[in-house]
């Protein structure tokens, strides 16, 4: 058998395999579903909010006082899973909303605790 014929056979077999796959999954493989888009939107919105909080002058100054570089925290935040990010975002907004009476130092302290809990920083190793 010639090389050309072999190629023909292999091509036919593989395209039959693709066709049968395509028959059942024609619009599933490779398609990004709507929930994935929503997750991505939620993720970038959460990052934006966390960034806005961490980069506030008063918060950033306080973080630095605690020995934490806000930029470094941000870099680590980018690598958190979406679930972790949403949990962090939710906790920051919940805790800081309730912490207004504690003032900015209290709020930053809470943020640090939360960052510690989700493994972004380890300021409190000694606790």
């Amino acid at each position: 058998m010639t090389m050309k014929l072999w190629k023909q056979i292999v091509l036919t077999i593989s395209s039959v395999a693709i066709l049968s796959l395509g028959f059942t999954q024609v619009s599933v493989a490779g398609v990004i579903d709507t929930q994935q888009l929503i997750d991505a939107e939620n993720r970038s919105a959460a990052i934006d909010r966390i960034e806005a909080t961490l980069l506030r002058d008063d918060v950033a100054a306080q973080l630095i006082e605690f020995g934490v570089d806000p930029d470094e925290v941000l870099a680590r935040v980018q690598h958190m899973t979406t679930a972790e990010l949403l949990s962090l975002d939710g906790q920051i907004s919940e805790q800081t909303a309730g912490a207004s009476a504690l003032g900015i130092i209290g709020a930053v302290f809470l943020i640090l605790l939360i960052l510690e809990l989700v493994g972004v920083t380890d300021v409190f190793k000694s606790i």
């Binding site: 395209s15 039959v16 693709i18 066709l19 049968s20 395509g22 028959f23 024609v26 619009s27 493989a29 490779g30 398609v31 990004i32 579903d33 709507t34 929930q35 994935q36 888009l37 929503i38 991505a40 939107e41 939620n42 690598h79 906790q91 919940e94 805790q95 909303a97 309730g98 912490a99 009476a101 504690l102 209290g106 302290f109 809470l110 605790l113 939360i114 510690e116 809990l117 409190f124 606790i127």
Partner: protein, 324 residues
């Protein structure tokens, strides 16, 4: 497992946040509003512990679905736990071709839904936090002038509760409440992301037609919103309306050219129309713009592989016939 240290940190957070108050469920309810009651809401007296199927049947049948508490029992009742789980109530709602939408945590949200002729399924804790007695019921009426709430509950066709009492029991159920929307219906106070997630979940469970009507309704309410357009486009894509899908993906990209998710799906929509070169060009652009650590990069690569593997002729639409 949390380490001891982490637990102690959690404890500190809990103490420090003690001043944060729970949302007040009665907030925003206008006491001078007229009473509202859905007298026609059906009633399924609960059998033994089966308040879940009974409550669910009430809202589903009222929304026009043909089902009953005994039909729903096997879907949502867990005999071993003598109860039903919240996710299963939502799943059974989807199975009935309805869109479960969890409403805001306030009586005013319940009131608004009742005024739109949708009874509201609520989770109550009739016991105390330490000794919970979970119960599902359906709010069918609210009388703001007299601080009364009316429910289809257990074996009572019309249980009257003081608003304050209801709020306490509902608060202990975390103010959880949802309505069953018909396909194409919007809730009275729709929140875009929550609604989109609800519709996407209905679609993921195989109810493409119901989802289609709801995406269209969403598009009327939030025209040109990328999430809605994406939902619409994906729905068209799975219905094999590739041109329509392409149209909607392009609308997203017109305002958000950096939306790689839409660009990825556009590549597929083109490929399915046998526009192979355009599709490859499109997905290559996606890959060139995706960051090295983009979590969706494997999907983009898969898309490119899929497009490469597609035979250039005949067009994709004709393939299934040949395969059978």
């Amino acid at each position: 497992m949390l380490s001891k240290r982490r637990l102690s940190i959690l404890g500190i957070v809990a103490i420090l946040s003690g001043c944060a108050t729970l949302p007040d469920g009665s907030a925003n309810l206008d006491r001078s509003s007229a009473p509202v009651e859905i007298a026609a809401a059906p009633f399924f007296p609960q059998q033994q512990f089966q308040c879940g199927p009974a409550a669910l049947a009430t809202i589903l049948v009222h929304s026009g679905a043909s089902t009953s508490a005994s039909d729903l029992g096997p879907q949502v009742y867990i005999p071993g736990r003598q109860g039903s789980l919240q996710p299963e109530l939502l799943a059974a709602t989807r199975a009935a071709d309805r869109i479960p939408y969890v409403i805001d945590t306030s009586v005013s949200a319940i009131y608004a839904e009742l005024a739109a002729n949708r009874p509201v399924l609520v989770l109550q804790n009739l016991g105390i936090s330490q000794l919970p007695r979970w119960h599902y019921a359906v709010v069918v009426g609210v009388d703001p002038n007299h601080d009364k709430v009316y429910l289809r509950s257990g074996t009572d066709r019309r249980r009257e509760m003081k608003l304050k009492t209801f709020l306490r029991t509902w608060q202990r159920g975390d103010f959880w409440a949802f309505v069953a929307l018909q396909p194409g219906e919007l809730p009275t106070q729709p929140e875009l992301t929550r609604f989109a997630e609800a519709v996407a979940a209905v679609e993921a469970s195989g109810h493409d037609q119901a989802a289609r009507s709801s995406w269209q309704a969403a598009a009327r309410r939030w025209p040109e919103h990328p999430v809605v357009l994406f939902g619409l486009a994906n729905n068209e894509l799975s219905a094999k309306n590739y041109q329509q899908a392409e149209f909607h993906y392009r609308r997203i990209l017109a305002t958000r050219p950096d939306n790689l998710l839409a660009a990825n799906n556009l590549a597929l929509a083109l490929a399915y129309q046998a526009r192979h070169a355009e599709a490859l060009q499109q997905i290559n652009r996606v890959l060139a713009n995706a960051a090295a650590d983009d979590p969706l990069r494997p999907e983009y690569l898969q898309t490119r592989q899929e497009i490469r593997d597609m035979p250039k002729k005949p067009s994709h639409d004709e393939e299934p016939a040949e395969a059978s």
